[in-house]
């Protein structure tokens, strides 16, 4: 048998593998550190809100009854938008949100699984029957954004989308009940 090249000695092979494994460990640790760092300093979280609600009686509930949907400004100035995802429409199909202010979006569904995203933002959540899906965000740029349903919810899924109007501060005016509707254009 010919003399084995030093690179091929068993200890050397083990050494290189361990060195590489250490490098992999550093990569894994770096990725996780980034996630922990953004969680601690920027409050980056996945949208989680384990709040149960009966889908069968959703339209009877105070919060998600038809009249109460859309954007409402509370007495303390907090902005909450409530949207229902159904087969095959978001209700209301246009929502108005303020630019530069913290907004809480609450979604629920009386029927099947839906999902939504708002283009150009970090709003992305599933809407699961039995739960209220909640997302906290701040819209930084004014304009009209698209909010499609992005999870298969049946044959009419492709036609299900809504519009989000991000209104600059001056145009975002609540009415006497604190509700803000889309500007008619």
């Amino acid at each position: 048998m010919t003399e084995l090249h030093p690179e091929m000695h068993e200890r050397r092979i083990l050494g290189t593998e361990l060195l590489w494994a250490f490098g992999v460990g550093v990569l894994v640790a770096a990725t996780l550190s980034m996630i922990v760092f953004t969680a601690l300093t920027m409050n980056i979280n996945p949208p989680s809100n384990v709040e149960r609600i009966d889908p069968k009686a959703l339209h009877l509930s105070g919060e998600f009854a038809e009249h109460n949907l859309g954007t409402t400004v509370a007495a303390d100035g907090s902005v909450t938008t409530r949207v229902v995802a159904t087969q095959f429409m978001f209700v209301p199909r246009c929502i108005a949100v303020p630019q530069g202010r913290r907004v809480t979006l609450r979604f629920s569904t009386p029927d099947v699984i839906h999902g939504l995203l708002i283009t150009g933002t970090n709003v992305n959540t599933m809407v699961v029957p039995g739960y209220v899906a909640q997302v906290h965000t701040e819209f930084t740029r004014s304009g009209d954004l698209l909010m499609p349903c992005h999870e298969y919810c049946g044959i009419g899924h492709s036609e299900m989308w809504a519009t989000v109007q991000v209104l600059p501060e001056g145009e975002f005016k609540p009415d006497s009940e604190g509700k803000v509707s889309c500007a008619q254009r």
Binding site: H59, T86, Q134
Partner: protein, 276 residues
């Protein structure tokens, strides 16, 4: 090479058992500590949420985010329909007796809706082969004034839940039999497109997505095939104007408001012809 020796388990395996267990468990425990304790508590501090609440929210025991206050605003409202599809209601529908229904129908419904569910008075809906859940909902809505009609409101208020279910089951069991073949050849492509593809630009899903039986859409969606033409046109117009408002979450109101009069007439003809 010499005969391979039997491995000595204790010498080779003990370190593996120990270190593998320690490593894997350490990883998981670090994850638990970071995810359930450290991150929520630190996030809660910046939002004024106490540690216990923050941890409960992170586990999902309490609703909300550990990093943001939870909104409270709750307004009482009048729902547009009182019908909820609970297991109890579905049980009532499942236990319905079409024979009792036939007796009730003969007493109350035949004058307008006919014995087989084919309307004998104009602008009255055909009920033959209609979805039992759809009939149940409309009668129930008449009873609670979610939907109003001079005769139907009075009639429905005299019926109990079980009787409504019986009537619904009876008519649902009546076969469809009355397409209008003269209109079969006339369905324009635009109408067929609305029924099968909808119109994404106007947020209109295909009619078939809800109104074709077995499509997997809303439980209460009525079957439109062979429905009376004038009745369909009248209902779509009432939805469009908001005069009829018992569609949960306004889906038909929204869709009808976006249909042109020509489309409404075309759809009514399409379904009258017996297409599904």
């Amino acid at each position: 090479m010499s005969e391979p020796r039997i491995s000595e388990p204790h010498v080779l395996d003990q370190p593996w058992r120990v270190w593998a267990t320690v490593t894997v468990l350490a990883i998981v425990i670090i994850g638990v500590i970071l995810g359930v304790v450290v991150i929520p508590v630190v996030q809660g501090r910046s939002a004024g949420i106490d540690a216990y609440t923050a941890i409960c929210r992170a586990l999902g025991i309490l609703p909300g985010s550990p990093a943001e206050p939870q909104p409270f605003d709750r307004t009482p409202s009048t729902p547009v329909s009182q019908v909820t599809w609970t297991p109890e209601v579905l049980q009532i529908l499942a236990r319905a007796d079409p024979e009792r229904g036939r007796a009730k129908v003969a007493e109350v419904c035949v004058a307008c809706h006919g014995e087989q569910g084919v309307a004998v008075v104009p602008e009255v809906p055909n009920l033959a082969g209609q979805s039992g859940a759809a009939i149940y909902k409309q009668l129930h809505d008449y009873r609670t004034d979610s939907r109003t009609h001079p005769q139907m409101s009075v009639i429905a208020k005299a019926l109990e839940d079980a009787q409504i279910a019986d009537v619904a089951a009876y008519y649902a069991g009546q076969p469809k039999r009355n397409p209008d073949p003269a209109t079969l050849a006339e369905s324009p492509a635009a109408i067929v497109r609305l029924v099968e593809l909808g119109d994404p630009a106007r947020n209109i899903p295909p009619c078939a997505a809800c109104h074709r039986p077995g499509a997997g859409g809303p439980i209460e969606a009525p079957i439109l095939s062979e429905q009376d033409r004038d009745y369909l046109i009248a209902q779509l117009k009432m939805y469009a104007s908001g005069e009829r408002r018992n569609d949960v979450y306004g889906r038909m109101r929204t869709i009808a408001a976006r249909l042109t009069p020509a489309e409404i007439a075309g759809l009514a003809r399409y379904y009258r012809a017996g297409f599904k």
